[in-house]
């Protein structure tokens, strides 16, 4: 298809790219006028890939890593990272060796014409209404033309002579007119009308075929069936094909698709003599079998058609079905690299943009490919998933919170498959984030700050934090952790002031998480002291009560800044984070020292604050921390080792830790409980 469109299409895409993009966006929601824009879409993609390719052609394979970093640093754009892997996935789109012809031996059972066009009568969709209108219009115009011909017989001759010219010019117009596709060569219609190969696939024929294939999976019926399957998949897209005539009605269509998708894998397995699950070695063995040669085109056709369907289809249910069926035969893709790449591309797209279930299903595909295929595929998956994530995490709202969380988790899953490989990539990515931050620290311009102060940046950091906290136990990720912590501290440092408290809290939360999972000590107390300092006049009127959820915001709205709620909430959040920090070290021998300075400040705050509700919580934290300090001090007096003796320090109170007998542990559990229940209410 891409080749057919050729240069003209590319030129066109170049010229009208913006409008096409707009159209595309519209298309996704409206689902109208399918074929014409879709063709444009493909050409558009071709164009994009082309440009990417040319951009990255100079990059040698060897020092790719370094160059990405350089490039990324230069551009300082998150999306630029990992661009270089954009090998032209569509380059082999036009290789059409998956095409199999129909076997003429197969029985066709002719049926009454009723069945073929029975359904339209009942339906009354807008498109049909429109069709009817156009039909009437045609009739009117035809009458007019006839009249003219009758009036002047010579005109009809003239018309005939000019018709051929007309077609030529028309077909040229196709590429310069967006709507032109719809009015493509009317010649085709006539031809297809005449050359209609009488064989229409009816439902009884299909039943017989299915039965035959199930009973005896010989190649001839199967290839006919797959041919039909292909036609069904392409139905409505390639208007010049026989496909539209091939399928008799919707029953046939639906049955054909479901049957093939459901049973194809089983049939292939039986043909190849494979049983049970497949893995890489298994697959390799299979390809060496003698049967493989004969089955290969069939499999390829099946996969190609399904992929085509996957690319065309918009409905989540169908997509899910296709994806989950394709997942069964995922190992077959290993034999067809170009198809596999297309599958990756499509499933990553669906993973990033689809709804919950579809996203999950697509993720399984990606994960299967990443884990079961060769390491090249893993590379592709790593880069592409992260890039898709970057592109899709720009906004956070309660609606997509869960989705982004899912995306994050999936990325962590995929990156955890091969830590050796992925840690390099993570390091590059984190370094890029660091360089963006560095730039912002240096220049401190609004745009630079905006780059940092965005969900995109925060989410990227969060992904890697998640990654590190999942894998720290098993792998030595020390340098990565240090860099990430510095970045987070840098962010907190860059955005001080009450407006950015939500961001600050987020940073502290992330640091707590990192500290908990990695076991390193990260001092966070100073990041929270700001909240405890005296703030300007707080609006005392309590008329408007609004819950402020700090973790779904980055920047507090201005009108909130002086409200009492905001103030209260910020202190409570700070207390919560602080107690999280304390609780982590509540069994450590230096817990009393850790709490010294925060307690002095909290005490002062407690004396000065006027907010009664906050007072109580602060008092409680102070008491608990005090109790815990005393507890530790008591225990500490009993031991005789010095701070130098690190191993003894580490084993200090390990027994108690398992019992959870320290006062602070219990306190923190209760505080967590209340905060969780509070969040549930809101």
């Amino acid at each position: 298809m891409a080749k057919k469109l050729g240069k003209k299409a590319r030129k066109f895409a170049k010229k009208k790219l913006p409008s096409v993009m707009k159209r595309q966006r519209k298309l996704n929601s409206m689902f109208k006028k399918k074929s014409a824009p879709r063709r444009l879409k493909v050409s558009n993609e071709v164009f994009l890939e082309e440009s990417n390719k040319s951009k990255n052609v100079q990059q040698t394979h060897g020092d790719r890593e370094g160059m990405i970093l350089d490039e990324a640093v230069y551009n300082n754009d998150l999306g630029d990272l990992f661009h270089q892997d954009d090998y032209d996935l569509d380059e082999d789109v036009s290789v059409s060796d998956g095409y199999i012809s129909e076997d003429p031996e197969c029985p066709y059972i002719s049926e009454s014409e009723d069945e073929i066009c029975s359904e339209e009568k009942s339906d009354d969709t807008p498109i049909l209404l429109q069709n009817r209108e156009i039909y009437q219009e045609i009739a009117k115009q035809k009458r007019k033309l006839d009249k003219l011909c009758v009036k002047d017989p010579q005109f009809s001759k003239f018309l005939e002579s000019r018709r051929s010219d007309l077609h030529k010019s028309k077909s040229e117009e196709i590429y310069s007119d967006e709507e032109g596709d719809a009015s493509a060569d009317d010649d085709g219609i006539r031809e297809s009308e005449t050359s209609l190969s009488g064989k229409v696939l009816t439902s009884s024929t299909l039943d017989v075929w299915c039965w035959m294939v199930m009973e005896q999976p010989n190649s001839s019926t199967l290839s006919s069936l797959l041919y039909g399957f292909r036609a069904a998949c392409h139905y409505g897209v390639d208007s010049d094909e026989v496909s539209q005539q091939k399928i008799a009605n919707r029953e046939v269509f639906s049955k054909l698709l479901t049957f093939v998708l459901q049973e194809a894998h089983g049939i292939f397995c039986r043909l190849l003599g494979i049983s049970g699950s497949m893995n890489k070695e298994n697959m390799l063995k299979t390809t060496k079998k003698s049967e493989w040669k004969s089955v290969r085109p069939l499999i390829k056709s099946y996969l190609r058609s399904s992929l085509f369907l996957l690319n065309q289809e918009m409905d989540n249910q169908i997509l899910m079905f296709v994806i989950s069926q394709l997942r069964l035969s995922i190992m077959f893709f290993a034999a067809f690299p170009s198809l596999a790449k297309r599958l990756i591309k499509r499933s990553i797209h669906l993973w990033a943009t689809g709804d919950e279930n579809l996203s999950a299903c697509s993720f399984f595909i990606i994960r299967d490919i990443a884990s079961k295929f060769s390491s090249d595929y893993l590379d592709i998956c790593l880069m592409r998933t992260y890039r898709a994530f970057i592109a899709n995490c720009k906004f956070m709202d309660p609606a997509n919170l869960k989705h982004i969380k899912f995306l994050m988790h999936s990325i962590v899953e995929i990156y955890s498959l091969d830590i050796q490989k992925s840690s390099q990539k993570v390091l590059v990515s984190v370094q890029q984030l660091a360089s963006i931050l560095r730039q912002a620290l240096k220049i401190k311009k609004k745009e630079e700050l905006k780059k940092i102060h965005s969900w995109q940046y925060i989410n990227c950091i969060s992904v890697w934090v998640e990654f590190v906290s999942c894998n720290f136990k098993n792998y030595d990720l020390q340098p990565l952790v240090v860099l990430i912590i510095e970045i987070i501290r840098g962010i907190a440092h860059l955005f001080s002031g009450p407006r950015y408290l939500p961001l600050r809290f987020k940073c502290v939360k992330i640091l707590n998480q990192l500290s908990l999972s990695s076991g390193v000590f990260i001092p966070i107390a100073s990041l929270l002291f700001d909240c405890l300092d005296k703030r300007g006049n707080i609006n005392v009127d309590r008329t408007q009560r609004s819950h402020v959820d700090f973790f779904s915001l980055l920047k507090a709205p201005k009108q909130l800044l002086k409200s009492r709620d905001f103030h209260e909430e910020s202190i409570l959040t700070a207390i919560q984070l602080l107690s999280e920090h304390f609780s982590q070290w509540s069994y450590h021998i230096s817990f009393p020292e850790l709490t010294t300075i925060p307690l002095i400040l909290l005490k002062r705050f407690h004396e000065n604050t006027t907010l009664e509700s906050v007072r109580r919580t602060v008092k409680r934290l102070m008491d608990q921390a005090q109790q815990n300090s005393e507890f530790i001090q008591r225990k500490r007096d009993e031991v005789s080792f010095s701070p130098e003796d690190q191993s003894s320090v580490d084993s200090f109170l390990q027994l108690e830790k398992n019992d959870e007998s320290a006062p602070f542990g219990r306190f923190y559990a209760s505080i967590r409980h209340t905060s969780i229940s509070q969040n549930m209410i809101h």
Binding site: S410, R438, I597, F641
Partner: protein, 834 residues
């Protein structure tokens, strides 16, 4: 002498009309061919003319206007030289460095004046002078001269035109006014004309200031023009002229008595020249000062004043320039303020130009300015003090030198005597002569350069210092008075500056820099003052109520220590209060609000550099700093830990903190129990504590901090002899800078080439984060009925769309056929016509 001449001459040589330069030198060659005796002279000059030529080309490539200015710059110095020549002839008593000119030049000046008499004074264009310079005696024919004159005029016009291009067409408003006066000319032409006039006068003045000195008046008149652009241009050209023609000495107008005396013509001329120059200069300055109040011309006027101050600080009326510059030193306009600050700085740093008097004046003026505005100024105005340099060795060097000198003289006298006795010792005589000449030269040099003798300089310097410190103390005093400032903060809104005391920070900086120069008499008061500012007013009030920021208070402590350190021998003041301050300020420090460098500097000056005699105090600080690093970021923590390590190294007894002895060992001393919340380090009982912090710091995420903590905790076993070796060299300030976030982000993360796999993951557990059960539920979510329906819908839709497309095509086809009918009819008509 010859040397000096060479030094002065080359840059002076004026690049003149380029086009016929080569021709002239050709003629010169001919001339030289005829007169062999000049060959040597010419060869010397030839290279210069080449140089000139090269420069010329560069100039022409540049903006023409710039070229003009450059020319002006170069020429006048030459002219000045000539003036001096004249003076030499006229008034040999004058103390000018006329002796530097060699005989040849003297000869030429005489010649020049002669030839100048011959030709019309006004017509002596630049080319002529130049040629005269080159070919001394050679006389140009009249047509040649005329040619040159024309050329120079053309050039002037060209320049004027270029100028006009820049601003032309803007002045439409004025045309109405001007139309009454000059009806023939349109406003633009008038504007152009004025500019040409400006250029002409400027050139004339530069060519021959003595002759054309009256033209200054005209220039001044032009500056009264209603057109503001003209005024600006006038001011700028006057600036350029003055910068060039102002002599390197201060003009003293003759007294009446002197006026009465009969003098020669040249002296009279010179006097007239000087008085006119002075008068116009005064008028110009007055104009600038008045124009400076007009917002539109303000920047230009200030720029003129500043560059005058920079260029001719030795000249008359410096005081008034200084006054207006200082007045603008804290202007709210950034460019003006920067200009003024730069000018003041240049006064401070180039004392050679004016002998230090201007420095004193400027400092005094600033002091008055600060006083007048009640310390509510931009910090820049005080920051200029930082570029002051006080030479402590003024007195010393002179004291060393002076005893030598008379001795020498005495020797000479003795030698003189002996010479007379010996009489015929020629060699000695020659030597002596040389010495004498050298002596004379140096004396002249001294007279010429503005270096006043050391006594005066010392006096001046001390007065300057007094004024500076007066300002500083005023600011300090002002900052101590909370009521006075609070009320005024609102009235005076300043863009910059920290809080209500914009000047305090830079004042403290200055005090820190000049702390070694502070008079001992002030020391007590100053410390008292700093103590109060640092927040130690009294305990009840507490540091909470202090109105200064933490950084400022830390700075107070730093200054106090610096002052003390520099005068440690003289005073014996206990700095305990400042220690208490620092001890408490550590709690107040907020990383984003306060400047971390100041904290690190405070640690460095107060704990790292000084010597701790009080062990209790040292222990308290060690404990507090260790605790501090548990709560704060890595840079601060590192600075604190470096200090801790240093303190531990210096105070061996404090190393008991590292050991867990029951009850703190024998050293627990007066206070048995550690009280972390004590405000006084001396009663905190830190010696009874153990530095458990280190065991947590070892787990610090930052590897350098964790290794630092480890190295500190292992100091127990350190034997005293070792301690010297282990002495860390990095200061807290250094440590802070090393670990600051910016720096940390730059560190190339070591590429973990081979990741050590700590543990093999359980094979069964497929997922790291996700819950497998939850995931599995996604797999069986497809409902077949729904699926079939969806497929069917899909089919219908596609079919409908295809149908739609087909119908549309047909419709289009029919329509086009119908439209073809029109074509057909036309064709038919065509045929018929044929």
């Amino acid at each position: 002498m010859g040397k000096k001449n060479k030094v002065i001459l080359p840059p002076n040589l004026p690049p003149e009309v380029a086009d016929d330069e080569i021709e002239v030198s050709d003629e010169d060659l001919e001339f030289v061919g005829r007169n062999r005796e000049y060959v040597g002279f010419l060869t010397k000059l030839d290279t210069k003319s080449i140089d000139r030529h090269v420069k010329r080309v560069a100039n022409h490539e540049d903006d023409e206007l710039e070229a003009l200015y450059e020319k002006r710059n170069r020429k006048p110095s030459l002219l000045r030289l000539k003036e001096e020549e004249d003076k030499l002839q006229v008034d040999p008593v004058d103390a000018l460095p006329v002796k530097t000119l060699d005989g040849k030049l003297e000869y030429r000046t005489a010649d020049r004046s002669k030839s100048g008499d011959g030709t019309d004074g006004k017509e002596s264009a630049m080319g002529i002078e130049d040629d005269e310079k080159i070919a001394g005696m050679m006389k140009l024919t009249k047509p040649e001269k005329r040619l040159k004159l024309k050329k120079s005029r053309k050039e002037a016009k060209k320049l004027a035109k270029v100028e006009e291009k820049g601003d032309g067409g803007e002045e439409k408003l004025h045309s109405e006014v001007l139309a009454k006066v000059e009806e023939d000319l349109s406003a633009e032409e008038l504007f152009r004309k004025k500019k040409i006039r400006l250029a002409e006068i400027g050139l004339q003045l530069l060519e021959n200031p003595e002759e054309n000195i009256k033209a200054l008046k005209e220039l001044l008149q032009i500056c009264d023009d209603e057109d503001q652009n003209i005024v600006k241009l006038g001011l700028m050209s006057l600036l350029a002229v003055f910068k060039d023609i102002i002599p390197g000495y201060r003009i003293r107008l003759p007294t009446e008595k002197e006026m009465e005396m009969t003098v020669s013509k040249t002296v009279r001329q010179q006097r007239f020249y000087e008085s006119t120059l002075l008068r116009s200069y005064k008028a110009y300055l007055m104009k600038l000062v008045t124009l400076e109040k007009q917002p539109s011309i303000r920047q230009v006027a200030v720029r003129c004043l500043c560059s005058l101050l920079d260029a001719v600080p030795h000249f008359n009326f410096r005081e008034s320039i200084l006054a207006s510059v200082v007045k603008n030193i804290s202007s709210s306009d950034d460019t003006i303020r920067k200009l003024c600050c730069e000018a003041t700085r240049s006064i401070f740093s180039n004392e050679g130009k004016h002998g230090g008097e201007a420095t004193l004046e400027a400092v005094r003026l600033i002091a008055d300015h600060v006083k007048f505005h009640d310390c509510q100024l931009h910090p820049d105005s005080i920051d200029v003090f930082l570029s002051l340099t006080f030479d402590e060795d003024i007195g010393k060097s002179d004291v060393l030198k002076e005893p030598v000198k008379p001795k020498k003289r005495g020797k000479w006298k003795n030698q003189d005597g002996s010479k007379e006795v010996q009489g015929s010792d020629r060699k000695k005589n020659k030597q002596e002569l040389m010495k004498k000449t050298r002596e004379e030269v140096s004396a002249d040099l001294k007279a010429v350069s503005f270096a006043p003798d050391s006594k005066d300089r010392k006096l001046m310097q001390s007065e300057t210092l007094t004024a500076v410190f007066e300002t500083y103390f005023r600011i300090l005093k002002h900052s101590m008075d909370p009521s006075a400032s609070r009320s005024k903060v609102n009235a005076v809104s300043l863009s910059c500056g920290s809080g209500s005391y914009p000047l305090l920070a830079s004042c403290l900086n200055g005090l820190g820099k000049f702390s070694h120069l502070i008079d001992l008499d002030f020391m007590g008061d100053l410390l008292e003052c700093l103590k109060k500012l640092a927040g130690y007013s009294d305990h009840n009030d507490g540091s909470m109520q202090n109105h200064l920021s933490v950084s400022e208070r830390l700075q107070c402590c730093i200054v106090a220590f610096m002052v003390m350190r520099n005068n440690l021998d003289a005073l014996n003041v206990d700095l305990q209060d400042f220690y208490v301050q620092l001890y408490n300020l550590l709690l107040e420090y907020r990383p984003d609000r306060d400047c971390g460098e100041v904290l690190a500097k405070a640690l460095k000056t107060m704990l790292w550099e000084g010597k701790q005699h009080d062990m209790q105090r040292a222990a308290a600080f060690i404990k507090r700093l260790a605790t501090f690093s548990l709560s704060f970021g890595s840079a601060e923590a590192m600075a604190a830990l470096v200090t801790v390590k240093h303190l531990l190294q210096k105070n061996s007894k404090c190393r008991n903190l590292l050991e867990n002895d029951a009850g703190g060992g024998s050293l627990a001393g007066l206070v048995a129990k550690y009280r972390p919340d004590a405000t006084d380090p001396n009663i905190s009982g830190a010696l009874a504590s153990v530095l458990w912090e280190l065991s947590l710091l070892v787990k610090h995420y930052n590897p350098s901090i964790s290794s630092m903590a480890a190295s500190i905790s292992s100091m127990t076993s350190m034997n005293p002899a070792h301690s010297q070796v282990l002495f860390s060299t990095a200061s807290p300030l250094q440590a802070f800078a090393d670990l600051s976030t910016e720096r940390e982000l730059f560190k190339p993360a070591s590429k973990a080439a081979s990741l050590r796999r700590k543990r093999t993951r359980e094979i069964e557990k497929d997922f790291v984060v996700m819950d497998p059960d939850q995931i599995r539920k996604y797999e069986n979510m497809i409902d077949e009925g729904v699926l079939t329906r969806k497929f069917k819908d899909h089919f219908i839709l596609n079919k409908g769309i295809m149908e739609n497309e087909r119908l549309r095509r047909e419709l289009n086809h029919t329509m086009s056929s119908i439209s073809l009918y029109e074509d057909y009819k036309r064709q038919k008509k065509h045929k018929k016509e044929r």
